[in-house]
């Protein structure tokens, strides 16, 4: 299974890939993850590749070949939607983060993104605030992803909790549950 995780640098895409990697490894699969560190992490558009299977060669996912996209921001979901296979699905946060060209007035934030995406939107920011802090949005999205992909909930949640600081466990557990309940 090829999963593309996209978002805005600093949103926690690296955490999401680590959780997926740990879960797949615990389930006995071969895994390759590929990440972006450095300059793009400063508020730029970022993507992380997660490939899970019996034997994985290339760590990157080509356009038109992803089974699933997990998007932490709506515009980023649209930017990378062409990475999906024809029957691929996308799960996206409805959060909007204005890119600098929009802030400066050089471009406009696209309207009607939902209509262009085949997939499910989650109001991760509101659910995260409900759980305690906006930073928990990535745990909300991971909860929703777990449900969407029919992952083993206990094992996936355990993988998440092993990757975060001890003092934020309660908040992230709540966020994960809210995300899990938010999708069909």
């Amino acid at each position: 299974m090829d999963i593309l995780i996209v978002g805005v640098g600093g949103q926690g895409t690296l955490l999401a890939s680590r959780v997926l990697g740990k879960y797949a490894l615990d389930k006995g699969y071969d895994v390759k993850l590929s990440e972006v560190h450095g300059m793009a992490q400063r508020g730029g558009s970022v993507m992380t590749y997660v490939r899970i299977g019996e034997k994985i060669a290339s760590p990157i996912i080509d356009e038109g070949s992803a089974d699933f996209i997990l998007a932490f921001e709506k515009l980023e979901a649209l930017r990378y939607a062409h990475y999906l296979k024809p029957d691929g699905k996308i799960l996206y946060s409805t959060q909007e983060i204005m890119p600098m060209p929009v802030v400066t007035g050089a471009a406009e934030y696209p309207q009607g993104i939902e209509k262009k995406l085949t997939g499910t939107g989650v109001d991760a920011l509101s659910l995260a605030l409900q759980a305690g802090n906006s930073k928990a949005a990535n745990s909300v999205m991971l909860g929703a992803l777990c449900k969407k992909l029919n992952f083993d909930r206990d094992a996936f949640e355990a993988a998440l909790l092993s990757c975060i600081p001890q003092k934020t466990i309660d908040m992230n557990k709540t966020a994960f549950a809210l995300g899990y309940a938010a999708v069909e």
Partner: protein
């Protein structure tokens, strides 16, 4: 036991298993995590050196004294370390000396896209190139063996995609080889003309012998497949080839310099079409062709950017897969919300100054709306360029500044400042002192007062350094205080000599606090003055100007530019 490891961590693990005793580096994406990981091992001495040249010199000394040593850097860091590298090739080693160098095809986080293999050919240093994390670990260990066996430093070349991908690695125990006793050996280690002349012939013979022996190295292997197409490849490209052309014959090279020509010749003869697939320079192709072996290569593949399985299919088989990407606004990286550099670039932009920039997060000061940057070249170059501006145009100093980060200033800015004083230049230098090496992910440096292991050490006082080299006009300001900052910059520009303004405030990401975020109140007149800050947390949306609480770090800079008191919140 198998573990999912980042390529960089796997290099570190391999070095540790090989009994490495000393590790030195200057941080540089994508190589930084090698030394960060080595710092976690108590049985390895590790350090952040002020720059790559010093790091390699520490490595050479440790090697001569008998320790297995690893020195890590990014491709452009190797330029800084070239002076010791080219002669360490002559002296050879005592304890194994491995130089891990990370190249950045596609320029994810660098100022150029150079190819370390070409430098290695000039320096006559052998190069190993792993394809994934398992090989990163295995090759690191092998590199130490080869270094000692052939009496040479060995470069372990990785690329961003190998350095920053995670894959499974089988872990082994640490085996510390028997210590190598140190003995004074003047002909070997003292490179003066009489000795260097002799050593040059030794180096030429070493390269010839390595090339010959590498025909038998297990890491250079033929994977037999269809005889129609044979691909010669190494490193990360091997994985794309296996994905794209599972049936092709493949010659996988683990040594990318010097080359196993007999093996290559045998392989090339065994297939109808022999193609070299390599990112960046046509290094393998040129060397192979110079040896009289006919291959294809850059006639079908690009010289720039990283490859993918899709690209291999397209260029080798002519298969194209059209996908339509949506036309959406770009999202370039920006200075983070709360970044202490923002205030500086706001002021420089407001004063419409020419800005000679440097390497670090603050290179993002070039991005609109701040857009305050005239030139960025390499680590430490800002100060030298400002001197050049002054010498080329006697009026330039009145409206030009050099900006340089704290870590970059220590890396190679100090010598530029000495030049400015010595040669009576009129320059203003703004040191952006955010108390860390920011862009590479927050490493300590000599002015943080902490070692790589967070142990307390002497804290270099940047203001004192500036005064010591002869700068009389040195002031330190808080870049969160825009009025004081503007005053300091204006005063420095008016000085007909060398001035240094130290804008000192810790990186916003160093604070791990959770923030509630500021709020815009009803007094907002939508004048958009705050938008000139280029803060990603300030949003100009359909509901007017708002603050994204998920990004705001309550730095208060926006309150400093708002004339209407329209932003609520308290700076803590």
């Amino acid at each position: 036991m198998k573990k999912l490891l980042l390529g960089d961590f796997a290099v570190a693990r391999g070095a540790w298993e090989a009994g490495v005793k000393v590790a030195a580096a200057y941080p540089g994406t994508p190589s930084t995590e090698i030394t960060e990981e080595l710092a976690r091992y108590d049985d390895v001495y590790s350090e952040w050196s002020p720059n790559e040249k010093v790091a390699l010199e520490v490595g050479i000394g440790a090697s001569i004294r008998g320790a297995r040593t690893i020195v890590s850097m990014k491709h452009v860091g190797l330029n800084v370390a070239c002076d010791p590298l080219f002669t360490a090739s002559y002296t050879g080693v005592n304890g194994g000396l491995v130089i891990a160098v990370a190249d950045d095809p596609s320029v994810f986080s660098s100022q150029n896209e150079q190819d370390t293999r070409l430098t290695a050919v000039s320096a006559q240093v052998p190069v190993l190139e792993p394809s994934d994390s398992q090989e990163a670990k295995d090759f690191a260990k092998l590199a130490f063996e080869l270094s000692e066996k052939y009496d040479t430093p060995v470069i372990l070349r990785i690329t961003t995609r190998v350095a920053h991908s995670q894959s499974l690695v089988e872990l082994c125990d640490r085996e510390v080889p028997q210590g190598k006793p140190y003995e004074r050996n003047i002909p070997k280690y003292v490179m003066m003309p009489a000795n260097a002349r002799v050593k040059h012939t030794v180096v030429e013979e070493r390269t010839r012998k390595l090339s010959e022996d590498s025909n038998e190295f297990a890491i250079n292997r033929i994977e037999e497949g269809s005889k129609e197409i044979g691909i010669i490849c190494a490193g990360g490209v091997y994985e794309y080839v296996k994905e794209a052309l599972p049936d092709a014959s493949v010659l996988k090279l683990g040594t990318v310099w010097p080359l196993p020509y007999k093996l290559i010749e045998k392989f090339a003869k065994s297939v109808k079409r022999c193609i070299v697939a390599e990112e960046l320079a046509p290094h393998l192709e040129t060397q192979i062709k110079a040896h009289g072996i006919a291959v294809e290569g850059k006639n079908i593949f690009p010289l720039c950017g990283e490859f993918s399985a899709k690209l291999i299919r397209e260029k080798v088989l002519g298969e194209t897969c059209e996908v339509r990407a949506e036309n959406v606004p770009a999202r370039p990286p920006v200075l983070c919300a709360g970044c202490p550099h923002r205030g500086v670039f706001y002021v420089l932009s407001k004063l419409k100054l020419n800005v000679l920039g440097d390497i670090g997060c603050y290179t993002l000061g070039a991005v609109p709306p701040l857009g305050s940057m005239d030139a960025v070249v390499c680590m430490g170059a800002s100060i030298g360029m400002a001197i050049g501006f002054d010498k080329a145009d006697p009026e330039a100093h009145k409206h030009s500044v050099a900006v340089i980060g704290d870590s970059t200033f220590i890396h190679s800015g100090i010598t530029g400042l000495i030049d400015a004083v010595y040669n009576k230049a009129k320059v203003t230098v703004v040191i952006l002192d955010n108390r860390t090496t920011g862009m590479t992910g927050h490493q300590n440096h000599p002015a943080t007062g902490k070692t790589i292991k967070n142990e307390p050490t002497y804290e270099l006082d940047l203001a004192q350094v500036c005064r010591a080299v002869g700068v009389e006009d040195v002031v330190t300001v808080d870049p969160g205080n825009l009025t004081a900052l503007e005053q300091a910059v204006k005063s420095a520009l008016a000085n007909e000599g060398v001035s240094v303004v130290i804008a000192k405030k810790p990186c916003a990401l160093l604070t791990k606090r959770l923030y509630k975020g500021f709020k815009v109140n009803e007094k907002c007149k939508k004048c958009k003055a705050c938008l000139k800050l280029g803060c990603p947390a300030i949003v100009n949306g359909k509901d007017g100007i708002t603050i994204d609480v998920s990004l705001c770090t309550e730095c208060g800079l926006c309150q400093g530019v708002c004339k209407f008191g329209a932003i609520d919140g308290e700076v803590k």
